[in-house]
């Protein structure tokens, strides 16, 4: 197993709830409540969970945008929380973050060059001053954008392109760990795949380790090597991708997996759906014992009294970490191995380059057009008065403007 680059040890983050004129603390929202894991070099750890489970707070703790209430984050064995200002700066170079919303994660008043160049300015020793513009262009190229667009502003790009810019900023300092907080949730389906593929390509080329935080279980399955399932600030289950998806042992994971709709109408009514009762309890007042016991169909007295530990439990073919007193594997999703299948290149492309410009009229589209296509296009453009074409065009625009 490769070396551990990042490890979280019993991370806790409680936010005080303040009330009244004197701002007295009347309680705590237990956003993250004792989470531990290791992240290995070059791997992707997916973190899934529903809203309010603390997965985004976890990301911010790892990034040290928030100070943990208790627990530590270690990078390559070095405790981040005790680090000096100088050490903290060095650590920041190694851990970076990509945000969810491509519309608020880029400063609208800065050009793309300035946005991607900012990390190089903050850490001037990474690239000498004269080479920064070139480095920014390399980065643009690396994330599949046109390096000539360096002087454009964020609002001139589409959502997918902006997300690429965010990724370029994240990898500018050659980090070892990239924390991705819902990086594709805000994107349209047809764009998601490009960005996911790009992230996989960058991982291979740069040896990055990802903490991939998302609520979409399908995307997480696709990109992750290991997956952690969070519920109410705690890790319910943690294991290899296949262990968690094919042999889930925690009832919450099972319910979660069974609720995800699968795009296949032939399975309608055939998939077993575990319907959970009630809502997620408030993290300000989590249930005693196992936090899931209020909604669990397996719950016994012990579940409300004794908190189950996240430990190795049998899953039918070995074991993986699960925090349930009554952990037992259950087949929820029939998994098909499609490693041999290749996508039909007549309809889709598995390229990671930015294809956003195509069709939107934003800019270059010559990057990936098949050869015959671009020549055909060129001919039709160079000969706009071709009579047969013209009549059609007139008809068409007439229709549109009625």
């Amino acid at each position: 197993m490769p070396e551990v680059v990042l490890s979280a040890n019993n991370l806790v983050k409680h936010y005080p709830i303040k009330k009244g004129v004197l701002r007295r603390t009347v309680g705590h929202v237990k956003a993250v409540d004792g989470v531990s894991f290791d992240l290995h070099k070059g791997e992707t750890l997916g973190i899934v969970g529903e809203s309010g489970c603390g997965k985004s707070t976890l990301g911010r703790l790892l990034m040290r945008l928030e100070e943990p209430t208790a627990g530590t984050v270690q990078f390559e064995g070095q405790d981040w929380s005790g680090a000096s200002a100088r050490e903290t700066r060095r650590l920041r170079r190694n851990i970076q973050i990509v945000f969810q919303d491509p519309y608020t994660s880029l400063n609208p008043r800065m050009t793309v060059g300035d946005i991607i160049g900012e990390p190089l300015e903050i850490h001037p020793d990474v690239v000498p001053k004269g080479g920064r513009r070139q480095r920014v262009q390399e980065l643009l190229d690396l994330v599949g954008l046109n390096p000539e667009h360096i002087n454009r502003y964020p609002h001139q790009f589409s959502g997918g392109q902006r997300q690429r810019i965010g990724i370029a900023r994240g990898i500018a300092l050659n980090p070892k760990v990239l924390i991705c907080d819902e990086p594709v949730s805000a994107l349209d389906v047809s764009v998601q795949a490009q960005v996911v593929n790009l992230m996989e390509k960058l991982q291979d080329e740069l040896g990055l380790a990802y903490v991939f935080i998302a609520h979409d279980l399908s995307v997480v399955r696709h990109i992750s090597d290991r997956v952690g399932v969070m519920y109410l600030g705690r890790m319910a289950e943690l294991g290899e991708e296949d262990e968690v998806y094919s042999r889930p042992t925690h009832p919450y994971t099972q319910a979660l997996l069974s609720a995800v709709p699968v795009p296949d109408p032939t399975l309608r009514g055939k998939r077993e759906q575990i319907v959970l009762v009630g809502d997620v309890p408030s993290p300000a007042n989590p249930p005693s014992g196992c936090r899931f016991h209020t909604r669990c169909w397996k719950a016994q007295d012990v579940c409300s009294q004794e908190e189950p530990q996240l430990e190795m439990r049998q899953d039918g073919a070995g074991g993986h970490l699960s925090a349930c007193h009554f952990a037992e594997p259950r087949l929820v999703v029939e998994t098909v191995d499609v490693s041999d299948l290749v996508p039909d290149e007549r309809f889709v492309s598995s390229s990671t380059d930015d294809l956003d410009d195509v069709g939107s009229g934003l800019g270059h589209d010559d990057s990936l057009a098949p050869d015959d296509r671009s020549t055909v296009e060129r001919s039709s453009v160079s000969d706009p008065q071709a009579p047969a074409d013209t009549s059609r065009v007139v008809q068409d625009t007439d229709d549109q403007q009625r």
Binding site: R92, I122, V394, D398
Partner: protein, 306 residues
């Protein structure tokens, strides 16, 4: 129409090349403003009044403090276009020369309230916590003082003088002392809006210093409402100066100012309305020009229009 469509349609097919040049939000705003006739009307007015303030001799060769007492209160005529006032001063010349005091007070007050209010607002909004509480309450204290009462206190406390700029500065100081809290509140609230944006978080994650975060991420994005309000306030400060002068606690004769003249003219409002009309007209036009410009700027900076 069809012909235009024909010639346009084929070129609309996407082709290579960098069709859209880099456009910043500021240049977008400028493009929007340029196409607004109100922008040009207000700008021309402001340029004229500013020229008046700097080079009054461009507009008139008459000395505004040259009293021709035998012609006092004469109505507009070929010799004195706007007539003469109670002292026999040429009203046209006084209107021209009066621009300087008004514009100076407006401009300086705007600059200082924006600076003081902006800095306090950024500090309160970005640091938060106790700093915010103390600064906000301090602002509230000043905010609660009525303008006239506050100005009277400030102006009466300061020693009297004959120096033109010193008198102007006294009025500016009075207006700044009472005007900064509204700017600080505005800046504070827009900083608080900008602060949680992911690009600010991203800069923090990169290890940017607080100074850098404020300078290159917070301030540029929080500035727009300040610019708009400052422009509109400029007009309001000019009229506040006139009010103070009218009440006899702002600028004093022999200083030439629209407020001073309006004050002097009120006595003969019925018999010699021209004495009141012309300074008031100049004052209203200036105030209107700045308020109009403020409106145009707000429309141009409003991202919802884009």
């Amino acid at each position: 129409m069809t012909e235009a469509a024909v010639s346009e349609a084929p070129t609309s097919t996407p082709e290579g090349g960098d069709s859209a040049p880099a456009r910043s939000l500021a240049s977008d705003a400028w493009r929007t403003m340029r196409s607004n006739p109100l922008f040009w009307v207000s700008s021309v007015l402001i340029v004229i009044f500013t020229l008046m303030a700097i080079f009054p001799s461009l507009f008139t060769s008459t000395n505004p403090t040259e009293a021709i007492l035998r012609d006092a209160r004469v109505r507009p005529n070929a010799d004195a276009w706007f007539g003469r006032d109670i002292q026999g001063y040429d009203i046209y010349a006084r209107c021209i020369y009066g621009a300087r005091a008004s514009i100076l007070v407006g401009l300086l007050t705007t600059v200082f309230t924006t600076l003081v209010g902006g800095i306090v607002g950024v500090f309160a909004g970005y640091v938060g916590g106790w700093t915010d509480t103390i600064l906000s309450r301090l602002g509230d204290v000043f905010f609660a003082i009525p303008l006239l009462l506050g100005a009277v206190i400030v102006l009466v406390t300061l020693p009297a003088t004959d120096n033109y700029f010193y008198i102007v500065l006294k009025v500016v100081l009075a207006l700044v002392v009472l005007g900064w809290p509204s700017m600080a509140r505005l800046m504070r609230s827009s900083v608080i809006q900008v602060k949680p944006n992911d690009y600010v978080q991203a800069a923090r994650a990169l290890g940017a210093s607080p100074w850098r975060v404020v300078r290159s991420h917070i301030v540029p994005n929080a500035l727009a409402p300040m610019i708009v309000v400052a422009t509109i306030n400029l007009g309001a400060y000019i009229s506040a100066e006139a009010t103070l002068s009218y009440l006899g606690i702002g600028l004093q004769p022999p200083t030439v100012s629209w407020g001073v003249d309006i004050s002097a003219a009120v006595v003969g409002m019925r018999t010699t309305p021209h004495m009141l009309f012309f300074p008031s007209l100049f004052l209203s036009l200036t105030v209107l020009a700045f308020i109009m410009l403020g409106d145009v700027v707000r429309d141009a900076l409003d991202p919802k229009n884009r």
